[in-house]
Symmetry: C2
Subunit: 331 residues, 2 copies
């Protein structure tokens, strides 16, 4: 039999999954409805986890157990709550999360559901068991692969194919806009009203390159889309920080690393940092100096992963904001 | 790695499909969004069919090509129309259906989408290709199996496990209600206002069994749920129709076959008919006589499939309604 989707090969894998899932879901709902059981196929895995758990669970625990998205689990819990099948209590261990368990009504339903599930299980086996190949094991493996590295990351890396080069003057304005956007939305970082001069500097970041020895590097896509930028200082006297960093000898540094908020998770920050490290190595410096703040958690972790060492002697206060120094040996 | 769903075996196949599909859909939408392409993963198969078709297509044609549900295709077409990616024209060959094709804007988008699809295809291959087992072929086979016999039908047959027996007096009222419900909702069949006496007879169908030789058979589930019923006449003089049927010799007959509208498609009508045929055979009759109307299309086809022959000599008018006779040899 000709099958349009199968002819499309791997590109249709999502659509093929969907049409099968759709048929199973519709069939499941028909069975529950005709058997007079007030239950939905889409509730199954979440209800099952709760029914078999010996204690209350958080949304996150359910999500982790079945590898569903947080939003799907959340929506199903809402539907179960509406039907009185679950009860939700506040979590004494964590104010932000809730503890979910089946209600008495929810547990009573289990006696009705289990005989039906046995019938489903038999029929699904006869549908999914194809020769001696374990389709179920293959699906498990596919899920693991998707958990390990999301498909969007894989595709976007190739689609954008970002690389780093020096920024062109006509790109300075957009780079400034990205920096303002990134820094102003950092939680715990001073906003425009608190440090207007700082934001003015960000907005006109291109001006810095008028000083010989200051460069702006951009992460630029195949499509010439700016993904992020960083300011590199060949001479620490221009670094412009508080503290003793500007007196650092045989050192280069970078500041104002920013990645377009819509492009997070694609490794652009790391790519820009590595480009700076590379410049440091080629420039025969002994060390690369940077600063960060507590608000920049992702960057902080990345710097540590790349081998940067905390340098308390470089710490300073920017207004009321503590700024923390790091060094990396590059010689 | 422990996997809650995998531990549930085949029962979790739907949930396993869903979590994979969910990840692919979210990833696809992220890629389109970040690449600045106004497109959604869920549109893919329908858009693709339209883009590659050399002519306009009906919803039904699209549905058949990709084996998606009618409702899903319909919803996606609505979204594509909203975005101006398709155009819809009335179908000169069939007033009830519409002809759908990509708009100029829709075709222009294809040039943007195709390079991205190539990247998706490569990545999906690396995810779905597991050793030399063709997961895609297995999914195709699963879809074919679900198309051939819907899962709900398989499960419900075993869940209800319907059989036929004589109705008990305490079931007469419910049988009457089912008959009124079925006949009053038949399109083209007289309603209560037009033939009040007929509906009164249906409602009190149990009364008929006071006449020796008239029996009511019910399709009854394992749970003692009534799925449908039929009135069997051992003596045609009691048959109560117009025309010459009541004078038929060496014949038995049945009338008022009705199946609960919520239980359609499970073969209950056929089961009741076969029970009547069986009674006819055991009762040493030569023929089984029935009547039906144009409004009862499904029944008409079933009777023909079971070997009933049209008998024009048994036709009659019930008020303004033409009623058509059939005979089946049972000796």
């Amino acid at each position: 039999m000709s099958d349009y989707l199968n002819d499309l090969g791997y590109l249709s894998s999502g659509s093929q999954l969907r049409r099968i899932y759709e048929k199973l879901q519709v069939a499941g709902d028909k069975v529950y409805s005709q058997a007079g059981i007030d239950f939905k196929s889409s509730w199954f895995p979440i209800y099952h986890v709760l029914a078999k758990s010996k204690r209350s669970l958080t949304i996150m625990e359910i999500t982790n157990q079945i590898s569903f998205s947080h939003i799907t689990v959340n929506n199903v819990i809402k539907e179960l709550l509406k039907k009185g099948l679950v009860q939700i209590k506040s979590n004494p261990g964590d104010g932000r999360s809730k503890l979910i368990s089946l209600s008495t009504k929810g547990f009573e339903l289990l006696d009705v559901l289990e005989p039906v599930w046995l019938l489903f299980s038999d029929e699904l086996k006869s549908i999914f068991e194809i020769s001696d190949i374990l389709l179920m094991e293959l699906m498990k493996e596919v899920n693991v692969r998707l958990e390990e590295e999301p498909l969007d990351k894989r595709v976007l890396q190739k689609y954008f194919n970002y690389s780093v080069r020096n920024a062109k003057p006509n790109e300075f304005k957009e780079i400034g806009d990205i920096m303002v956007d990134v820094y102003s939305s950092l939680k715990g970082f001073p906003d425009k009203d608190e440090q207007p001069e700082y934001y003015k500097m960000l907005s006109n970041v291109g001006e810095l390159t008028k000083t010989k020895g200051i460069e702006i590097l951009v992460a630029i896509s195949k499509q010439e889309k700016i993904g992020g930028a960083v300011v590199f200082f060949n001479d620490m006297k221009d670094y412009g920080s508080g503290g003793s960093a500007t007196k650092e000898l045989e050192a280069c540094g970078f500041r104002l690393l920013a990645v377009d908020s819509k492009l997070r998770g694609q490794g652009l920050g790391k790519m820009l940092t590595n480009a700076c490290i590379e410049k440091g190595r080629k420039g025969k410096y002994k060390k690369l100096v940077i600063h960060t703040t507590k608000a920049m958690k992702i960057a902080w972790t990345m710097y540590e992963d790349l081998g940067f060492q905390r340098a308390e002697d470089l710490d300073f206060m920017q207004g009321e904001l503590p700024v923390f120094g790091f060094r990396l040996e590059v010689s």
